[in-house]
């Protein structure tokens, strides 16, 4: 509760959280919010490759085929957020228990797990995920979640383990043990409530990383097929390569076709990082 109050006292962090929740809400409700479906083509001459206008039917403009950029961006945001939350969920489901056990018991298990986590972290994530994703063609959202989630758990495990390792040293854990509490009971009733905030911070870090990595993989045109699952990353890739990689393609394309998905992606990452960091600061007021 104290943490929530400390977090709420800063207007900037509340604004960032509101913006993030707004993006999530719009993404979840995209079917009801979006003015068009993402692949419907407006064939009238006035409606292809038009810039954004407030009084026109297409708020963010249309691409060269006459598809509404706003609707496409919203569907892309939806895919990106679903994958991001899926990855964060898998990362917490694997990373939090491992971090708890590793921090609580220490010893060889801790050393091996953390060494493995270090290795996975030091390697360029994009290389590993690209090498893994090559085997799944065509890629589905759940394969993407699985590949990234199996890579991202180390992020959560690390922070949880660090916090648990400091808690185990404290007197109240010793007192609980002296009263005869079993390891499971100590972890469940004394350690878990104390590290809940840390798990959330780890989850936001995993979420930000997942969104970034997913967009990068899509941008390399290795992720979800854009014709089936538009995401912010493959919308950008579509616009960039638009008929073969090269610099010729995009001169005819209006800036609005890439600027809006790029802006939404940047805004999403900014709010996730900011909320996570402010939450971390609210949890550790001393630092």
């Amino acid at each position: 509760m104290k943490t929530v109050r400390r977090f709420a006292r800063r207007p900037v962090s509340v604004a960032a959280l509101a913006l993030f929740l707004g993006l999530v809400a719009v993404a979840v409700l995209q079917q009801h919010v979006a003015p068009y479906t993402w692949d419907s083509i407006d064939l009238r001459d006035v409606a292809t490759n038009r810039g954004p206008t407030l009084w026109h039917e297409h708020l963010f403009g249309t691409d060269t085929l006459g598809r509404d950029v706003l609707s496409r961006t919203l569907v892309g945001l939806h895919t990106t957020i679903v994958i991001g939350f899926g990855v964060a969920g898998i990362a917490v489901a694997i990373g939090a228990p491992l971090g708890l056990v590793s921090g609580y018991y220490g010893g060889w298990l801790d050393a091996t797990l953390m060494r493995a986590a270090d290795l996975a972290r030091s390697f360029p994530a994009i290389m590993v995920s690209l090498a893994a994703i090559v085997f799944f063609f065509p890629v589905w959202p759940h394969t993407m979640m699985l590949v990234l989630g199996l890579y991202m758990w180390t992020l959560v495990a690390r922070v949880v383990r660090g916090h648990v390792a400091t808690l185990v040293e404290l007197e109240f854990i010793e007192a609980a043990r002296a009263l005869g509490a079993s390891d499971l009971r100590v972890i469940r009733t004394h350690i878990l409530p104390n590290v809940a905030g840390t798990i959330v911070v780890g989850a936001t870090a995993a979420l930000a990383q997942a969104v970034l990595l997913e967009a990068t993989i899509e941008f390399f045109s290795y992720g979800l097929p854009a014709s089936r699952w538009p995401s912010l990353g493959n919308l950008l890739a579509d616009v960039t390569y638009g008929g073969g990689l090269g610099l010729q393609g995009y001169r005819q394309l209006g800036w609005w076709t890439w600027a809006f998905p790029a802006l939404v992606l940047a805004l999403l990452l900014l709010t996730i990082n900011f909320v996570g960091d402010e939450l971390d600061a609210a949890l550790n007021p001393a630092a």
């Binding site: 360029p124 290389m127 990068t216 890439w258």
Partner: protein, 299 residues
């Protein structure tokens, strides 16, 4: 000290062997029929032949006998220059921003720099690279893609630096925020420490207090963080190099795994060389910290 280095090198060798086996086996298993014409033996046997052939120079030989170094060496060179140029930008910008923010904590300047740091931290390198390339396409001032050819020399070096300007700005920007925040917080700690008070009490000019006493002390952790994040810098450099068509490791990796039949030994070589570079920088990070901060020297 020597024992520490030897232990780390042995660990690195073990990791590299494991990485080479896993990547080779993975790609051979999924793209070849074992015993078929392209891969006459099983994946593990093929890897073992490669591994035992290292002393006689099997590294750099593809599965079909082609020379892999011919493509990998120039790619590594291009990526190295890209990373070095961005590193210069990152170090200069993050030190300047971090020190400026730490000297005036909680001022308007600090808040502004904090916001910029968040913005730069949250901007993916590929997004910035792409947006800069598109936005500057109409002006014909900066080279937008390609790595210049030419003989080594001063002219060529300037040409390369000029061509790498936009890519390294894109790459540097996504890391400046993180490091500037780091410099700020560690410098604030150092400025509040007793040794800073001592330096001020001695009557040293403020400049010397900040630069020689406080900043010097926060440098050890800065350098270690800078080198520890090298994996993500390398990953971002791969993407930037692909967007600007610099023919670096990123472009090579995408081309290598892009085909329908992927040569497992070619993929493996790129992955193992990258792993070796990353492991070497992490060892370097530990050695640099030991050199800068005698307190953590292992006995």
């Amino acid at each position: 000290m020597a024992a520490f280095v030897v232990r780390r090198l042995m660990l690195a060798a073990a990791v590299l062997t494991a990485v080479s086996f896993v990547s080779f086996w993975f790609f051979a298993k999924n793209f070849y029929v074992a015993g078929g014409t392209l891969l006459p033996v099983s994946p593990s046997t093929a890897w073992w032949r490669w591994f035992t052939g290292i002393p006689s120079g099997s590294v750099g030989k593809g599965t079909f006998g082609q020379d892999l170094w011919v493509t990998l060496v120039p790619a590594l060179e291009h990526t190295t220059w890209l990373i070095l140029e961005s590193l210069v930008l990152v170090v200069c910008a993050s030190l300047a921003v971090g020190v400026a923010a730490a000297l005036h904590p909680r001022s308007g300047l600090d808040v502004l720099l904090r916001f910029l740091a968040y913005a730069s931290w949250s901007l993916p390198a590929f997004l910035l690279a792409m947006v800069m390339q598109k936005a500057l396409a109409g002006f014909h001032v900066f080279p937008l893609n390609g790595y210049p050819a030419g003989r080594a020399g001063a002219r060529h070096a300037v040409d390369v630096a000029w061509h790498l300007l936009l890519p390294s700005i894109a790459l540097a920007t996504s890391f400046v925020g993180l490091y500037a925040r780091f410099v700020r917080s560690s410098l604030l700690v150092a400025l509040a420490a007793p040794f800073t008070t001592t330096a001020r009490a001695k009557g040293l000019p403020e400049r010397a207090v900040v630069l020689r006493h406080a900043l010097r002390n926060s440098l050890a952790t800065y350098v270690s963080v800078l080198l520890l994040e090298f994996g993500s810098v390398f990953g971002a450099a791969m993407v930037v190099d692909w967007i600007y068509q610099l023919n670096g490791v990123g472009t090579l990796f995408i081309r290598t795994i892009g085909g329908t039949s992927i040569d497992p030994s070619a993929v493996q070589l790129i992955i193992v060389v990258t792993a070796a570079i990353v492991l070497a920088t992490s060892l370097l990070a530990d050695l640099a910290v030991i050199w800068l901060d005698p307190r953590v020297r292992p006995r």
